[in-house]
């Protein structure tokens, strides 16, 4: 056993009276990927912040390369060779690639920057990560995957040996994830220790060497990943044995609720599927890779985005014109977006305010707010969705990701929709809340709600949909009944130009490896 590059021992940290970390031990060995898991609120991000010098631990020791260290600031941690790649990337979009890489340490003479002084080393950094971008390119023009690579390049150029990645795949498409994992393998073989934080269990099997699971601020379990079974892991995370992640679905589709006809020239090419139907009691899953246009389609149906092109909509068989989200709500549509912090919630407002936001007009008497009915409505729907909050008067930002998502769902359920459009309904949500959301989806469809669910998580798509349509390049490329859909087939339709090619070839050429099951 080699000596650890860094080790944390008996780390405790409290915020006020709330103990977030309680005697946590963690060892990071060279040439290893250490997978850190746990439900939201288990203390993962606090642990990362302690390691990254953002929080100081109340007690406990951090040892880096055999030396005990006490970080006063993030700069201290950087100097000790620890690089944290946060979920919200900390590159500056309005500056060039080179400026970002060299930020704070350009070669200077009397403070004046020497142009070209570091061009060679910048090119070397970009080449090492196989980033084919010009150093003069503005970072805002880069894809998320390239920005992430840029940040890793920055970490490596600081001679960081310990690299912490916080949910690095949350904004990447499947091929981009493959590239990232390849890069992680390279870093590993170069002797780096990688602490990899993620919710996604399928990533565990692909890259992890060691697993540690946090629950309520303590280490619930740890071990070599080959020895840890999936059900064991889930048990550690939630504290109970969970047999299956997805509840059984039975579908009794009723009459057609929503019909969408795409009238763009792009989609009306021969043999393309241009129509989307969803019936009462049915979950229509829309699959595809990140950027396939499914999000834009939902936005367009909801009247929030005109860039997708013209749509012909029918609700309950009647043609309707939806020009704004206001129209959409009036016609019984509801949209849960994939970015609850960005456009799903007003984080600083209370849970109640957020729940009644879309129905306040109906609750008012003329121009006067009816506070009592606002309280009633928010109570009723929060209870129905089992929102766990100390008080609904708290700002919604104080809730965990899973409970925030339930507030978003409550907001839209309060509008009494006929059709619920869900975009990544379980993104950034812990395992327990995920299961609750799945059961809720089942209950709503039993009550006759029609649901369109966009998901890039293959297991979720396969398990929760009654029918699956796959999008690629803002077009539908395939449609499956749920019993005939396989992960390979769906993925093939999502990434290949030729849907008629046989799937066997796909799995032989390694595509099956990319399937996240």
């Amino acid at each position: 056993m080699s000596t650890p590059l860094a080790s944390l021992s008996s780390i405790c940290k409290s915020f006020g009276s709330h103990r977030v970390l309680n005697c946590v031990d963690l060892e990071l060995l060279p040439n290893q990927v250490h997978w850190l898991a746990g439900e939201n609120g288990a203390g993962k991000s606090t642990l990362i912040k302690v390691l990254g010098g953002i929080h100081k631990p109340d007690s406990g020791e951090i040892t880096v390369a055999g030396q005990q260290v006490k970080f006063q600031s993030p700069q201290d941690a950087t100097a000790a060779g620890i690089a944290v790649i946060h979920q919200e990337l900390s590159v500056i979009p309005s500056m060039t690639v080179e400026d970002n890489l060299l930020l704070g340490r350009q070669p200077t003479t009397f403070g004046f920057i020497r142009t070209g002084g570091a061009r060679a080393s910048v090119m070397e950094m970009l080449n090492r990560l196989r980033l084919a971008v010009s150093p003069d390119e503005m970072v805002e023009k880069l894809s998320m995957a390239s920005r992430q690579r840029l940040e890793i390049a920055k970490a490596l150029s600081l001679d960081s040996k310990i690299i912490v990645m916080d949910e690095p795949t949350s904004s990447l498409s499947a091929p981009e994830v493959d590239d990232l994992f390849e890069l992680i393998a390279e870093l590993k073989s170069d002797g780096c220790a990688i602490l990899y934080v993620s919710h996604k269990m399928e990533e565990l099997e692909r890259i992890a060497d060691t697993v540690t699971v946090l629950r309520d601020g303590v280490v619930a379990g740890s071990g070599a990943s080959v020895n840890v079974s999936k059900s064991r892991l889930v048990q550690w995370m939630v504290g109970r044995e969970v047999d299956e992640q997805f509840p059984e679905r039975t579908c009794k589709p009723g009459e057609c609720r929503l019909r969408v006809k795409i009238a763009t020239s792009k989609a009306s090419e021969s043999n393309a599927i241009t129509e989307l139907n969803v019936a009462a009691g049915e979950v229509l899953g829309i699959g595809g890779v990140e950027g396939c246009g499914a999000t834009e389609l939902l936005m367009a149906i909801f009247g929030a985005d005109s860039s997708f092109g013209d749509l012909e909509l029918q609700v309950d068989g009647n043609p309707v014109a939806i020009r704004s989200p206001r129209d959409a709500i009036a016609h019984g549509l509801a949209l849960v977006t994939n970015d609850r912090r960005g456009n799903g919630l007003v984080l600083d407002l209370s849970c109640r305010e957020n729940v009644v936001m879309a129905v306040r007009d109906r609750l008012c008497h003329g121009p006067i707010r009816q506070l009592a009915s606002e309280v009633n409505v928010s109570d009723q729907f929060s209870k129905q969705l089992q929102v766990r909050a100390a008080s609904l008067d708290l700002p919604v930002a104080a809730l965990s990701g899973g409970n925030q998502q339930k507030i978003v769902l409550a907001k839209w359920l309060a509008t009494g929709p006929k059709v619920l459009l869900l975009d990544e309904p379980t993104r950034g949500v812990d395992v327990g809340a995920k299961q609750e959301i799945y059961s809720l989806i089942n209950r709503w469809t039993d009550d006759g709600l029609a649901i369109v669910m966009v998901s890039t998580e293959m297991p979720e798509l396969l398990a929760m949909s009654d029918r699956i349509m796959v999008m690629r390049d803002a077009k539908f490329s395939a449609e499956f009944r749920t019993e005939e859909a396989t992960a390979e087939a769906v993925l093939w339709a999502a990434i290949s130009d030729d849907p008629s090619s046989n799937h066997g070839e796909a799995s032989q050429s390694g595509l099956a490896g990319a399937v996240q099951v």
Binding site: S90, I92, P93, L103, F112, L131
Partner: protein
């Protein structure tokens, strides 16, 4: 050893336009130049019987824009950090009365008065910057307070009277003194009458700030702070220090602008410079520098300064009344900002 794969190009970056010309016209600089060209074209059409084509007109435009231009130059630095400085008009007045009292009443020589006014302005900027960077007061609030305070200080220093060459005596009479050497120098023209000294002061200020912004590491730090303050902090940039320096330089330039103002008026008026900060902000914004910080630059601000300067001049030589001038200027600000808006982002 892992196998080296070829470089993966980023699919999101579109291939470069085939023609450099098409690339150029989509840049902020091109849009900005277009706005200035339009204004100059209007000047050629409405040339007031040829007076627009006289050299003196252009010389005067630059002179009349100089004080605003110095303010806008400093303002650009602050706005790039994502802040704003509302106090420059009041700081200008404070520096104007200080400079006038030192030169006229006390007869101090120019080589002392000149640094003195810069110091006065820089001190005001240091206080604003300290409030913003250390005490985390919002820039709007901090500089609003400084705007009120500096105006009050200017009135207190002068006792509410204008500081002019008619120096009040103890017995209530006035003694008339000469206009100080420094004021005459600043108000004169050099190089065979071809350029005003205030214009030169403005050009030097602009060049100083432009070079620093372009090549000094502090300039890059301002962009980084405005672009993403958290990323800047985590990259080891001294965020507080760099931010305060931006306010200090902005204040210093406001002080210098105050001296120029006093020299041209040959008096220090504590009521001068009201709404100058708004003109300066308008010049920066017309140039296309983003009020959120992180985007823009002094090249753009220069064109913004000239655009407003020329617009004012063209309207005044055509004897457009002030009411019309103000409304037209407002229209141009909106048109220019709309033209700056990029389609892609």
């Amino acid at each position: 050893m892992t196998q080296q794969k070829p470089l993966t190009p980023d699919p999101q970056i579109k291939p470069a336009n085939p023609s450099w010309w098409l690339q150029f016209v989509s840049t902020p600089l091109a849009k900005c130049l277009f706005a200035l060209a339009m204004i100059l074209l209007i000047g050629c059409l409405f040339n007031a019987d040829g007076s627009f084509f006289k050299f003196g007109t252009h010389r005067d435009t630059l002179r009349q824009s100089a004080v605003y231009g110095i303010l806008a130059t400093g303002m650009t630095l602050v706005i790039l950090t994502g802040g704003i400085d509302l106090s420059v008009g009041s700081v200008l007045a404070l520096a104007a009365v200080t400079g006038s009292m030192a030169s006229i009443h006390w007869g101090w020589p120019g080589y002392i008065v000149f640094p003195l006014v810069i110091l006065v302005g820089a001190s005001a900027g240091f206080v604003s910057g300290g409030l913003v960077a250390w005490l985390k007061v919002q820039p709007f609030i901090a500089t609003l307070a400084m705007m009120v305070f500096a105006r009050g200080l200017a009135k207190w220093v002068t006792g509410g009277a204008k500081v002019s060459t008619a120096v009040p005596q103890a017995d209530g009479s006035f003694e008339y003194v000469d206009v100080p050497e420094l004021f005459r120098l600043i108000d004169s023209r050099w190089l065979y009458d071809s350029v005003s000294v205030v214009s030169l002061i403005f050009i030097v200020c602009w060049l100083f700030a432009a070079i620093v912004l372009w090549r000094h590491r502090w300039g890059r730090e301002l962009y980084a702070i405005g672009g993403n303050v958290e990323a800047a902090r985590l990259s080891g940039i001294p965020v507080a220090r760099s931010t305060i320096w931006a306010y200090v330089v902005c204040g210093g330039m406001a002080g210098l602008a105050g001296l120029c103002q006093a020299a041209q008026e040959q008096q220090g008026d504590s009521d001068v410079g009201v709404t100058y900060e708004l003109v300066a902000i308008a010049m920066v914004v017309i140039g296309g520098t983003n009020l959120m910080g992180g985007r823009g630059g002094l090249g753009l601000t220069l064109i913004g300064i000239l655009s407003i300067g020329y617009l004012e001049k063209i309207l005044s030589i055509n004897a457009v009344p002030e009411a019309g001038r103000l409304m037209l200027t407002a229209t141009i600000i909106i048109v220019a900002v709309l033209a700056q808006r990029s389609k892609t982002i």
